[in-house]
Amino acid sequence: MSDFDAPFMFPEATKPDAGALYLELDGWEGPLDLLLDLARRQKVDLRQISILALVDQYLTYIERAGAMRLELAADYLVMAAWLAYLKSAMLLPKDQQEDPSPEELALRLQLRLQRLGAMREAAARLMARDRIGRDVFVRGTPEGLRTDRKTVWRSDIFSVIQAYGQVKARTAPRIYHVANRPVMTLDSALERVSAMLGVTLEWMEIRDFLPPHASPELKRSALASSFVAALELAKRGRAELDQDGAFTPLRIRRLKESVAHGLGA
């Protein structure tokens, strides 16, 4: 909606209360409606209508209503004021006119009346058509169409057997066999290394702690356990470790003063 429409925007006509005004204006849904009705009384095509004559009719109508001491609704008065301005502008010499020219304003008013008129006529023709429930009727008691959905289930014997196999496989109690691998536990490594450290105060390589005739698998395990045991003893202050560099032989020897502390520290 453009700004131009603003002066023509009024609340929809309310039901007449006891107000005498509405005895006169009740028939119209706002000023544009009244204007359209007045325009129709010129009995010419809305395109040929004389806006000046229309303005006069409106103002006369409003005046007469005022003379009958009716309270006029504000929107009708606003329209009256706007039309009075339009009329005076139309009567002025052309060269004194500003933009927009009164002709333009009049044309806009005319276009709006044409559009409202067209829709009013269209509405009337629409309502006059053969309408269902008034002029034409659909079947009084249609039986109705029903669609019952039925599910047909599909499966096959292999799926059933396979499902059963899976249930059995899934729920069968499971027995786990843990292979008995040759290992040296940390405890026994700790014992071995402690015992061997007690023999001498000299540096010994950690490899010397390994059982000499063990299988390669046990040797790997013994090496790892002995290394951890050596670290543990060093932590307890019972031994010290020494290594020249990465991957060089790791050596270990007993700390003399550690004798006093004992193993349980």
Partner: protein
């Protein structure tokens, strides 16, 4: 009299029994996957057959149904089934929506020159004749309205092209906004036209 074909009879029975108008696709599906083209042919044969009878087969917005012949209206009119009498405001709003759809409330109001009370659109919605048709992608994103298939049905229109006088109205530019019509008739510089708007708005204050 030539005997009706099997499909013709099936379509006839289905539409007689249906509680609502049916599209060709719905008919085809209901009849167990008949080709829509065959259904269309059967409908054409049926419509021709019923043309001279007391009941007509009609298409409304792509949906088909039987209804009593319009020329028998005087015999059938019933008080108890009187259709709801619409207020003048409601009939105008309905016409504006039908001829301009989709259209926003502000656009309706600019044509009518009065505000539209909320109840007016509600009445039309409740009757099932108009529906919300999304939003206009302009500032404020106003809701826009359009008519429904039930509207075409109720007023006996095969499609919106059958709206009385719509072609003439369109040709006369009476379905164009005032601004467009104004510019067309003034062949005016649009900038000046905008200025004119502003002045127009300020004058009556």
């Amino acid at each position: 009299m030539s005997e009706p074909g099997t499909l013709e009879r099936a379509v006839e029975a289905t539409l007689f029994a249906s509680e609502a108008p049916m599209t060709i696709d719905a008919l085809a599906a209901h009849l167990g996957g008949i080709a829509p083209g065959e259904v269309r042919e059967a409908l054409a044969a049926l419509a021709a057959h019923y043309l001279q009878r007391g009941v007509h087969l009609v298409e409304r917005g792509g949906r088909w149904h039987f209804e009593t012949a319009p020329d028998l209206a005087h015999l059938l009119r019933r008080e108890k089934e009187q259709v709801r009498r619409l207020s003048r405001a409601a009939t105008e709003v309905l016409a504006i929506i039908a001829y301009h759809e989709p259209v926003s409330r502000a656009e309706i109001e600019s044509i009518r020159g009065v505000q539209t009370s909320a109840g007016t659109l509600d009445v039309l919605m409740e009757a099932g004749w108009i529906r919300l048709a999304g939003r206009r992608e302009v500032p404020g994103r106003p809701v826009i309205y359009a008519t429904t298939p039930e509207f075409l049905d109720h007023f006996g229109l095969a499609s919106r092209r059958d709206l009385p006088g719509i072609d003439e109205l369109r040709a006369a530019g009476l379905l164009d906004p005032v601004d467009d019509a104004f510019e067309a008739s003034m062949r005016f510089d649009p900038d000046e036209a905008e200025e004119a708007d502003e002045h127009g708005a300020n004058l009556p204050d």
